[in-house]
Subunit: 368 residues, 2 copies
Amino acid sequence: MNIELDATDGSARAGVVRTSRGLLRTPVFMPVGTRGAVRGLSSADLEDLDVQVVLANTYHLMLRPGPEIVAKLGGLHGFMDWSGHVLTDSGGFQIFSLEPNIDEDGAVFRSTYDGSTHRLTPESAVAHQGLLGADIQMVLDVCARLPAPRTEIVDAMERTARWAERGRAAFLDPSVATPAGQAQFGIVQGGVDPDLRAQSAARTVDVGFDGYAIGGLSVGEPRAEMVPALEAATAQLPVDQPRYLMGVGDPAGLVEGVANGVDMFDCVLPSRLARHGTLLTSTGRLNLRNARWADDAGPIDEKCSCAVCGRWSKGYLRHLLAVHELTAARLLTLHNLSWLLEFTRGMRAAIVAGTFQDFRTEVLTRWG
Amino acid sequence: MNIELDATDGSARAGVVRTSRGLLRTPVFMPVGTRGAVRGLSSADLEDLDVQVVLANTYHLMLRPGPEIVAKLGGLHGFMDWSGHVLTDSGGFQIFSLEPNIDEDGAVFRSTYDGSTHRLTPESAVAHQGLLGADIQMVLDVCARLPAPRTEIVDAMERTARWAERGRAAFLDPSVATPAGQAQFGIVQGGVDPDLRAQSAARTVDVGFDGYAIGGLSVGEPRAEMVPALEAATAQLPVDQPRYLMGVGDPAGLVEGVANGVDMFDCVLPSRLARHGTLLTSTGRLNLRNARWADDAGPIDEKCSCAVCGRWSKGYLRHLLAVHELTAARLLTLHNLSWLLEFTRGMRAAIVAGTFQDFRTEVLTRWG
């Protein structure tokens, strides 16, 4: 998997990734469809939003309904009836939050659904994701929870490198079924230490993947610590392959990621914020729970071209939110996702126009 | 408000009601948008479903956000951005389930939202619904909870008749603001006693409304008790005005209502069933929670032309339901409503074709 660069502006890149499914224009934001659906939305909604790629969570789908059932129903594309791209994570991130038993072979964890015990290894992560059938799968990594002692971060990074070799070997093993055209990304770890990040990136590139993700950042550390670690990692990554910063989806985080040469992002933030009534707008965050909006006939954002802003008032949407109508979660998620996707397209346009540095300054002033 | 009958088949009627907003083709099923939205859906969805008229609940809307705010935001049509018809209930049905203090003037009840005390009278019900701005408002009635002693049912019926006069007078009072073109329906009570139903119907017709509803049925009594009460009521109602059986929305109840000359129906059943995974299909009810559907690639109903059946499998929808995804509630509600609206159009077509009795027999065999 390669990325062709249409334009660059500093380290920021506007690119195109050609896959067997079609084109991915970058920078790209991937909404999170944890269990095979973005919360409250359907694949028809994702089409209306011009979503290019959805992320689905292997941890959840391996437990419910199970990768075999997803495979039987046509993989995630058939299951969701979605002809856009899909990326699956490895399941590692969720599992590490469950405090699993980890040894060199893999991780043993308990299901949050029924308490049953499961083992995930670099090899089984490949097999599960093969069955889920996404366009891009992620290697199983080890994510130290920050802040952590340096030895712990080093150990996680070292094991990540060893697991990367095993994961890649399993992916390339012809006896392990992965769909034709499926790609696999490696993951860089190393905490907020630029040296460890550079080292992790170099070792991951040595293994050789179709693209490279930066994991374990944006987990609560200050942006001033995140950016040098990110810079150190991307400096080691091949220019002609896609780069993905995991778990970042706030406007300032996106613009800093792009400024440091990242192409792909995912985050639950826009949909989670929406369900709590916090909306992304051209003038900053808007808290729709505020009583001042109760009789407001205007849209969430005068400058937004989404279907929700074109049709319903802040007063109506605030009411639906206040009385816990399901419709509120859906409509506000549609707005936030639409807004963030348009924001991401705006970054791409600014890179192509050579005005990305101005765009970045403006975003950091409003959202930083 | 008049109804023109396109066709009749026995007592069943296929009609057209012309309003300032457009046409209502009957029999018609009205989805319930309790708080200004059918749960999980938007007015855009209602348009896609070819919904003709939505019911909204005065009780809920008078408490949240309040009729003044709805009025300020353009009445229910502006609030919801919905150009189809709207009918509001009087608020009475919900209030009587809260065991209010009732006297001849009205009912004092406590809000389920914050415990605050409110008074609803036949006159204030008119004023609230005037502000909500629906196309059809309902008079405030007194609904005895069945089974009840005969004296209680008679008392409720008598008070309903006195309140009907007050409600109609308030509606016709030029000093009370009601939107141009708004209609008002009376409500027939009388429990399951055909004599009381006939008496209540005659007295309601004496007051003179734009249409007539039958309230207080389908509240748990056997169908064999409901039907004679319904027949006794409709026999007293003018042929050229619309008739509305409140709270009925199961296929057998609809077909029996239509067979007894009813034109309009509302019910939360299709959306409530959907949220619990019970689906209406051409072969009867389907419980999507059943494990047998886990890997089923087929649609909910092979014969259904709805957007959900056209696109997603039972396996996928069952998964979304099992893991409590909001998307499940939405998609299953879309199916059930679409199915029931199509069923209602099927009743109309059968009346026009003169085959309604066969249709009725088939429905009662499957759903009775």
